[in-house]
């Protein structure tokens, strides 16, 4: 009489509370270890590339620029470059994780565990966010010997760093879910991500742009990220900060919903 009563609970489906914390943290730690075990390639390499960009632009234009937004050119450049590194690496982490899993066939490891679509989304995006912030901090530290970086508003720096890496992590998840070959990912990087990053106002001030390029900048979410982030450092923004905050909050909410939707339906994942 007693034996079945003991067995029954263990055979019944396991119940989780609102959130499966063990599963979520496992997925998150898997995503973090994926990049931290090859930190030379995922943190140091982008840091070096960003420093090279700084050197190239300061050497090529620095001598001819008096001041931008009341700052020497390199102090203007540095925050934008840090933000570029953050966004590109947040994107790279989630997009490559999903695409490689799909190609190697181990995407089931993501789909089978007892996680809700929301938990999957958060676990993946959390990994990308962590890589973005890690690269951002590394780049910042590496730049300090060359550029005097002071912080005007810590709140802005944190808000924009987190929002931007969340944004690009989610875009990366979407790209990874959609793409089926490395060719597809190369196309997204070449045609969307790199142009958006380059034409985002990192290298020039939007205030003095011709109208066409000003329009391009305002249509680019990365412009608001870089502008707001830079404002956290130099205390001056080219565009409207309210617009920036609203654009980022709105865009992240929309992306979160869309990503959740795709993962819930299994689009390009369970087919």
């Amino acid at each position: 009489m007693t034996t079945p009563r003991v067995l029954q609970p263990s055979l019944a489906p396991r119940h989780y509370r609102t959130i499966n914390w063990v599963g979520l943290s496992t997925l998150y730690m898997k995503e973090v270890r994926r990049f931290s075990s090859v930190a030379t390639q995922t943190i140091l390499a982008p840091m070096v590339t960003t420093l090279l960009f700084l050197a190239v632009f300061v050497l090529a234009l620095g001598h001819a620029v008096d001041q931008v937004a009341g700052e020497p050119y390199r102090a203007f450049l540095a925050p934008g470059l840090i933000m570029m590194a953050i966004t590109q690496n947040a994107f790279a982490n989630t997009s490559s994780s999903i695409l490689i899993s799909k190609i190697q066939g181990n995407i089931v490891d993501l789909l089978m565990p007892p996680l809700t679509p929301l938990e999957r989304t958060i676990g993946l995006a959390g990994g990308g966010l962590t890589r973005g912030i890690a690269v951002g901090i590394a780049t910042w530290v590496a730049m300090t010997p060359f550029v005097p970086i002071s912080v005007a508003h810590v709140g802005f720096v944190l808000f924009y760093a987190l929002m931007a890496s969340l944004f690009m992590s989610l875009v990366g998840v979407l790209a990874g879910v959609w793409a089926e070959k490395f060719d597809h990912m190369a196309a997204i990087t070449n045609f969307i991500v790199t142009p958006a990053a380059f034409l985002s106002g990192t290298f020039y001030s939007a205030e003095r742009l011709p109208p066409f390029w000003l329009g391009v900048a305002h249509a680019n979410p990365l412009f608001y990220m870089i502008d707001g982030f830079r404002c956290g450092f130099i205390g001056h923004a080219d565009g409207s900060l309210t617009a920036g905050v609203l654009v980022l909050l709105g865009a992240n909410a929309a992306l979160l919903w869309l990503t959740h939707r795709l993962i819930a339906t299994g689009y390009h994942l369970k087919a």
């Binding site: 030379t40 390639q41 070096v48 090279l52 190239v56 090529a60 620029v65 931008v68 020039y204």
Partner: protein, 272 residues
Amino acid sequence: MNGVRISGTAHALGPRRFGAVNWIGCWSLLRRQFKNSFSDLHYTLLGPVISNGLYLLLFVIASSSLTRLDPKGLVTFIAPGLVCFAIAERAFQVSGANLIYEKHERIHTDWLMAPLTPTERAACFALSSTIAGMMVGTAVALMTLLFVPAQVAHPAALLFFAAATGMMHGLIGTLLGIWAAKWDQYAALYTFVLLPLAFLSGVFAPVAAMPELAQRLIAFNPIFYLIDGFRYGATGAATADLRLSVSVAVAVNLALFAWAHYWLRTGYRLKS
């Protein structure tokens, strides 16, 4: 009758002789290199064209909105450097990435077994990289026409330095491909050594405008002489002495060729 037939068979069983150069073998190895590296032409050409186009666009927007510099002059200066850089990057990838891939898949035995001399192997790797690099260079050069009118001051110098850049990076790629056991090592050397050398070689800024320490360091960077010579071929203006640039290009290529030849001959990291 019998004797003739036997001697005929003996001839066919004996070692096959090649002339001074095994042309069929070289041609096959070249075709194999091209087959591996040209299967994805659309993005090996399009990627560099887009990213270099963005660099130029950035410089135009940044210089015209922030400085009183003439954007035309700046682009005229930068464009040849970018073409050279595109040649270098592609040439390096063709031999380097290909070799590591083949080592991983253990299919490098195909050309280790083939009756080719080390000179023929090294020459084929260098040549295929040079041609692939110059193809990308041509595509990037055509793209720069969107920004600046075509300029060829000295066609011979232009071709010589384009080929020298491609060959040098093809040979560096070959050496790196032979040496590296993992993709990590290949990527690390690319990011931490080759990319800084190429970026800090006067592609983007006249050396004269740099701090003195930087100027002195750049004089030791072979890529500087290649880009400077290539720019001379395009615009007719050079920073370094042209004879020095030619000598550096020839000497570095010869030294790298000898090195690659030595490793291919001894089978270092290939036959073990």
